[in-house]
Amino acid sequence: MLTALIFLPLLGSLILLCLPRENHRALRGVATFFTAAELLISLLLVARFVPGQAGMQFTERYDWIPSLGISYHLGVDGVSLALLVLTALVTLLSAITSYSITERVKDFYVLLLLLETGMLGVFAALDYVLFYVFWELVLVPMYFLIGIWGGPRRQYAALKFFIYTLAGSVIMLVGILALYFGSGLGTFDMLALQEAGRSLSSHLQWWVFIAFFLGFAVKVPIFPFHTWLPDAHVEAPTGGSMLLAGILLKMGAYGFYRISLPTLPDATQAFAVTLATLGVINIVYGAFVAMAQQDLKRMVAYSSISHMGFVMLGLAAMTPRSLSGAVFVMLSHGLISPLMFFLVGTVLYERTHTRIIDELGGLYNRMPVAAVVLAFGIFANLGLPGLSGFVGEFATLLGSFDVFRTLVIAASLGLVITAAYHLWMMQRVLMGEANTVGGVGLLPDISRRELLVAVPLMALILFLGVYPAPTFAFFNDAILRLQNMVQLASLGGGF
């Protein structure tokens, strides 16, 4: 089942390769069909998922390279399944958004589907080598998506993205090997190493933790490894930005959740303050830099850095509530940031041909529906209660408060700044005198296809914000198990 989910897009991209490159309609149709089928399959998995059941579900395991202890091992818990659904959804919306691409359509969708295979694989892999293969598989298509269809500085941004991520991940590979040999089990199985990792010497745990940290920190990205992000996000085509912000950043945080915390609990405890501090730096720094941006897309990119800081803070605090909050922020940011990138990069830009805040203004009067949608996105992004952003961040702060008081207070300061720059931006872009950017008078309002992208995201953001309980319940068991593991380890260390 998971295999089908992961490799169906690959099949789709192979089919696309055989289609004529001039027939844009067919290419878009096939790509949309496959990404929609992915969403259906992932929802089917959700329907068959048993939340209370212990351990991984839908597991599949075959020998791959038995002589090195590498297996093809897939499985999901509540958190990874939620991320799979998110991936399928955002990819589908990104495919629809990218109808506006008219150049090299075939190549675009081939790469998009390949990317989907990689992303889904990362969230479902339970073997380190398999995980690494999917992790790297994400890199190549994304590089081309940025490099071919991106903005003016696309080549620089694409290369920077590639080099940063590759550098992080190869160091992670050495960490994987150190863990493998340190455990002495002769297997790359994540679950088996989870048991063994806790008994490693603290010295080795530290080194392995640092290696994984570098791999994940680049992806999240954690300050000071974040500098590729603004470039990549700004230059990427909208469909690419949506996936970058919505899914790729979650891969890093997911790595901490799936690998660092359960497998290296002692080292995680030891580094918890550092992680939390870096998370808060992300929050505050990201917010301040976002405030200074003139380019809307850049502003949204920095706001992503800021939001990912909450995820790090929640993961570092390691209380059930903070962990749930962190996962919730991942999901909610996975909905909000694609919406924002879509609005800024496509809806606004295709009408006004600018993303510079000062050149915009009074858009509410010129494209009222689009402006309302944008206002919704802004409110969601700044964490307005009732929308999903608030729930996750609130839970994270609440859950972390007992552990890191000062830091949480500093993080709340970040929230204030976040609200401030969002409102200020809204004031400059939507309110005020209408100007003549993109032509005089009314601009064409948001189209039906664009609404098709925006409305599902808005509905989910609203749903998660108003009624978050079922979502929390969905991954609650996974969180409790993780917390148990961490706690056991810290008790064991105390004796």
Binding site: I65, L159, F162, L166, L173, V174, L177
Partner: protein, 493 residues
Amino acid sequence: MERNILVLLPQLLLIGFAFAVLLVDTAGRQRGERALSTWAAALVGALAVVTAVVVLPFWVRQGEFWGGMWLLDPFSLFFQVLLSCALILVLLESAEFVRARRLGSGVFYALLLLATTGMTIMASSRELLTVYVGLELTSVSFYALVGTMKEDPRSNEAAIKYFLMGAASSAVLLFGISLVYGLAGSTYLPEVARRVAASPLGWAAAALVLVGLGFKVAAVPFHMWTPDAYQGAPTPITAYLSVGSKAAAFAALLRVFVVGFPALSEVWQTVFAVVAVLTMTYGNLTALAQTDVKRMMGYSSIAHAGYVLTGLAVFTPESLSATLYYLLAYVFANLGVFAVIILVSARRGGEEVTRFRGLGRESPAYAMALTLFFLSLVGIPPTAGFFGKFYLFYAAVHTGYTWLAVVMVINSVLSLPYYYHVVREMWLEPAQEPELKEQELQGAKAAPEPESAAGYGLLGIGPAVTASALVVLLLGLYPQPLIDWARQVAVLL
């Protein structure tokens, strides 16, 4: 003592077909016809050799022949398979090149077969002088092959440089062998291992052998000939030089040091580690500055020699099998790269990075294949190169050489930008600019018979690229059989 002439079947076939090619060459009336018939003869010969190598273990008992002069073991079979497969790919890549450039086809193909004979000899003996004879046969054939483009001053320069430095290094190697003989009273490696103990003279002998073979694998600091020879040589020869000659020299290096000098292993392990680090770092850093793709691949091949050497530095059965795996992955990816270089150069009249501009639009299949080969060379999954590197890291970390693994991963990242140059030109740059078109026209005028680029150029290049790409992908997705094979080979070394 066994004397079974059948064990030499691959070598006999190679030599026989080399002469057959020369005979066929005299029979043809006009140049074009001769180019085709000699090529076909050589290809038939190569196919016969592969068949012979594959059936050989079923016909002949494995073991030593002629008093230890010759050895048939999994190791020699591995390299004979590897080298004859490489030969087929190189032949496929040569067809169009030889015809379009009006090279003397008979001599060209005959020398290719003879060079292959020498390489297989290097891998099939535990006797230093036999290894040396194989090495000389290989080198002499290559000296001539590098200079086959007689009208091209670059080719001449390359041949002279390669010859002078090659001759010097052969002399050093021979001197090393003479010291070994003086110490051990034998050139038979198991005997050498018994007699040569850790002593200054033993170290000197090992060092001289290392210098001689280090030249062939292009390890720093014996690499100076590489970029010039690679750039000047006919491209199919560059391809063969970068994989065949290197693989055979590694075979000799592995055999000599693992079988012959185990007593000195503590010292030479350190030396290999240092040389490996220098080699890969130098190769990657210098490749960054290149604008000619052939020259860039020259430096890249230096860097890859560095990765392979780490296997010797770590020196466990695991690391040796990783070395074999890596070599095989490297051979196919590199031959694939050169196939596409030949194609581009035939169509666009040059090998500069800018000639690759817009290839993704013009021939997406070739551009995709080249991207795949580069990914494999960088070591990004799911390619053979990834598992090659992974296996090397694995072996290094296992034995406590984590620092070496870290140096290797940093180097993999370093290697990315120069491969990226070509990938960028192929995919990211917009289609040809007008000025370049003009250049291209001029280039096409300069190159003889531009229209021949269609013809049987496709016959050769297409299959070569397809085969390499399939191997690279297959080994990336399902490496288990090759890992098993390489392990078996390394244990029995």
